[in-house]
């Protein structure tokens, strides 16, 4: 089972249904919804946070959050 932290820079994936974990409402609103495409744009120099493009929104989130988002590689 892959999660968002396992993406490589430039790789894209699809967000899977959320089961046990419900992300912060703000993430959903930014477009982190099941079925949407997410791309890892960059990882911060100290490995955290990460910078993603999801559904056209460019946002940075911490790895602890990203680890809970399951994805399917494209």
């Amino acid at each position: 089972m892959a999660n968002l932290t396992e993406l490589k820079v430039g790789q894209r994936a699809i967000i899977k249904e959320y089961h046990s974990f419900l992300p912060h409402i703000k993430l959903l609103e930014m477009g982190c919804l099941p079925g949407n495409t997410v791309e890892l744009v960059q990882i911060a120099p100290l490995n955290d946070p990460i910078y993603i493009n999801v559904n056209g929104s460019h946002i940075a989130i911490r790895k602890s959050t990203a680890a809970k988002i399951e994805i399917e590689l494209l």
């Binding site: 703000k26 993430l27 911060a44 120099p45 946070p49 910078y51 056209g56 929104s57």
Partner: protein, 744 residues
């Protein structure tokens, strides 16, 4: 017919709401390319074509009506309270063309509140570059609204907004979606219990944690008894609501919004690669910080010196034009010099704001947050704390306000509590004058001791901020959900106009703000220093004259006469002998004798004046506090200056100028006057020990009432500002005392 309607500008952060606001109202509120520039509401007005006056409200950006940080709840609180005098007749939802999809989420929520709404699609100038095309007519129909496509940069479409607002009563106010489909049975029950209430509004009251005190209390009370859903279930429902809205939006945009992807990337990607590179990222960040320091301390010295000269000129002119006396002294030495002492910092302040504003406008600030987040976490801070800490070097007040964008309450509180440690611009005048007085000439690795000292003081401020953050992080038992998210805006070329206005506005408010306080304090101090009630004060002249007759002049005066005579004869090329034989007196020697007499008179008046000062109101007040400041190496005059600088730190210099000018008839700059002050051992009062002690005191003390007030407002209690005040002042006192005792 003069009717006023309320217009609220609502939208995601960084979409250009304030830019639209400025275009509509002609005002110059601060604009910047960082999500969260506006953190509180601002009001302006605008005349519409049909004679209606529109009161325009600029609001902080919010991604949705589900609020998670303080700046966002400002919006929800307003929209939930129909009785609020600012409750909008029209909501103008400002979105940027690139992120239209996400912006529409908020739009549908506003629509569902049944507020007549207009959609502004801003930054239309970006459409060709990003390959975006929009079928406006179709979109209007699908969203059941009116749309203005606008570019505030190019000034296009502003008239269209005004026309749409003017026709506000023709706008549809029917909702876009029906939230009740996310859980029909639950909403059916809600409807039966609250038949009169609007369903989406109820839903917000149930789910939002914001301060709803102003909303109809009754319905809220009934709600609490109704609340049958658990937090977790509500969250699931909110999740479903978001999905529902996006389904609607995707359907809408499918036909009317087209993006030609290949042309979309480009600049952002390549700049991000460099600016957030593993090594270069930090190198560039620190290079920028160094550049800022260089500008503040080197480049600005030229205009600073020029300003200094102008004030000296005015001060001299007043002295020579007005009749001599204590009032002239107050004006020329107290007030003018005091204000001049602040005005010389205009270039520094302007540079500081120039850089901060360019960093914000370009979109770089968000990258700094990204770079620094991991580094700040061990201190209980987040990457978002870096922005307040940087802007704290200008002033703590906007810095404390800027913490509003931090979602996590604990991180936010810690940031607020430690921000006052950063060296704000008001401390600069104090540092610079003390450094000039007590730090010796000389260089270390090619950098002057003086510059190095200043750099160290900045460093100490930051280090102390981080250190106390770490301590607070351990001590504070606040549990709050750790969540961090920041949008990375596109890079933009800073707009000259925006940067320019920010710099001008900030500099103006610095000068006038400080100027007013200095003026007021100078006058009060002058009064307190020129009057007294004791017998000693009233009979000062006799007492001092008698003392001089018996014991002669004091050391300071003797020194003063000797120095002047020496000066005089050196210029004349005359040897200074002892008192010359009156029978063989030459014209030069005669003039020397006259000068001697004049100097004696002056010195005597001087002694009377300072005796008076010591026994004036302020003298007694000063003497009362002297025991407290004595261990730090200060005399009562410095003590008074330290206390008055609680109004604003830079007042320190002005206070000393006023006190010295009351007790002194000489034409001298404050710096020279400070250099000439002696302590009770007959050594200069401002020496290395007392100077360092003062600097350290200023580095750590919680000062300036305005900061205290803003912390009170932002933390909503007196507890935190008082803790801050007591802890920081005690700490400053102890450090300053230790420094003095060790160095002296």
């Amino acid at each position: 017919m003069s009717k006023t309607i309320n217009v609220a500008l609502i939208g995601n952060p960084n979409t250009g709401k304030t830019s639209v606001f400025n275009s509509l109202t002609g005002l110059n509120q601060k604009v910047g390319n960082y999500p969260g520039i506006t953190v509180e509401k601002k009001i302006g007005s605008c005349k519409l074509s049909n004679g209606i006056k529109a009161q325009i409200l600029d609001l902080p950006g919010t991604y949705s009506l589900n609020t998670t940080s303080l700046d966002e709840s400002v919006v929800v609180e307003l929209l939930m309270n129909k009785k609020d005098s600012l409750y909008p007749d029209v909501a103008v939802v400002v979105s940027d063309v690139e992120n239209l999809k996400r912006n529409l989420l908020l739009f549908t929520q506003i629509k569902d509140l049944k507020i007549p709404s207009i959609l502004v699609i801003n930054m239309a100038d970006q459409m060709p570059r990003k390959g975006i095309s929009i079928d406006v007519e179709l979109l209007e129909k699908q969203l059941d609204t009116k749309i203005a496509v606008v570019s505030t940069r190019k000034g296009e479409g502003i008239e269209k907004i005004k026309d749409l607002i003017a026709a506000y009563d023709t706008l549809s106010n029917s909702p876009n979606t029906d939230v009740s489909v996310i859980d029909p049975t639950y909403f059916e029950r809600l409807k039966t219990v609250f038949p009169k209430e609007d369903i989406y509004k109820l839903w917000l009251v149930i789910t939002q944690d914001v301060n709803f005190t102003s909303i109809e209390k009754k319905s809220l009370d009934r709600l609490t008894s109704f609340q049958t859903k658990k937090k977790e279930e509500l969250k699931k429902l909110q999740h479903r609501e978001t999905v529902l809205r996006y389904q609607f939006i995707n359907g809408v945009l499918k036909e009317s919004y087209k993006v030609d992807y290949p042309s979309a990337k480009g600049l952002r990607a390549s700049l991000d690669k460099i600016l957030m590179h593993k090594i270069f990222g930090y190198v560039i960040f620190f290079a920028i910080l160094l550049l800022i320091f260089q500008a503040i301390f080197e480049w600005s010295s030229y205009p600073s010196d020029w300003i200094d000269e102008q004030f000296a000129f005015v001060s001299d002119w007043i002295k020579n034009t007005l009749p001599p006396g204590i009032l002239t002294n107050l004006l020329s030495e107290g007030i003018i010099t005091g204000i001049g002492g602040i005005a010389v910092f205009i270039p520094q302040i302007a540079f500081l704001f120039l850089f901060i504003s360019i960093l914000e406008e370009s979109g770089y600030m968000s990258r700094v947050v990204f770079l620094m987040d991991k580094l700040m976490r061990p201190f209980g801070l987040s990457g978002k704390s870096v922005v307040p800490l940087i802007s704290g070097t200008a002033c703590a007040i906007p810095a404390v306000m800027a913490t509003r964008t931090i979602e996590n309450w604990k991180e936010r509180l810690i940031t607020i509590l430690v921000v006052p440690f950063t060296t704000c611009s008001a401390r600069l005048p104090v540092y610079l004058i003390l450094i000039a007085l007590v730090i010796p000439e000389g260089t270390f690795l090619g950098i002057s001791f003086k510059a190095l000292t200043l750099f160290l003081l900045y460093l100490i401020g930051f280090a102390m901020a981080l250190f106390s953050a770490m301590a607070l992080n351990k001590m504070l038992k606040i549990r709050s959900r750790s969540f961090f998210m920041i949008e990375m805006p596109t890079y933009r070329l800073p707009l000259f106009k925006n940067v320019f206005y920010t710099v001008v506005e900030k500099t103006k408010s610095f000068v006038f703000g400080a100027g007013k306080i200095i003026l007021a304090i100078s006058i009060i101090l002058w009064f307190l220093g020129s009057y007294g009630y004791s017998e000693n004060f009233k009979n000062a002249e006799e007492i001092v004259s008698q003392r001089i007759e018996e014991n002669g002049l004091n050391d300071y005066s003797k020194n003063y006469i000797k120095k002047n005579l020496l000066n005089y004869s050196e210029n004349k090329g005359q040897p200074t002998g002892s008192i010359p034989n009156p029978l063989k007196i030459t014209p030069e020697q005669d003039s020397l004798r006259i000068l001697n007499n004049q100097l004696f008179e002056r010195a005597k008046n001087q002694e009377i004046a300072s005796y008076k000062l010591e026994h004036s109101f302020i003298g007694y007040a000063g003497k009362a506090i002297e025991p407290i400041v004595k261990p730090l190496g200060y005399d009562w005059k410095i003590g008074i200056a330290v206390i008055t600088s609680f109004a604003a730190r830079e007042v320190f210099v002005g206070t000393l100028a006023t006190i010295y000018s009351v007790g002194n008839d000489e034409e001298e700059t404050i710096k020279n006057r400070m250099a000439a002050e002696l302590n009770d051992k007959g050594k200069p009062l401002f020496n290395l020990a007392s100077g360092v002690s003062l600097m350290l005191f200023y580095a750590f003390a919680m000062q300036c009432m305005s900061t205290l007030a803003i912390v009170k407002r932002e933390t909503n209690s007196w507890k935190w500002p008082l803790i801050q005040l007591i802890f920081m002042s005690l700490f400053a006192y102890v450090v300053a005392m230790s420094a003095y005792q060790i160095l002296s």
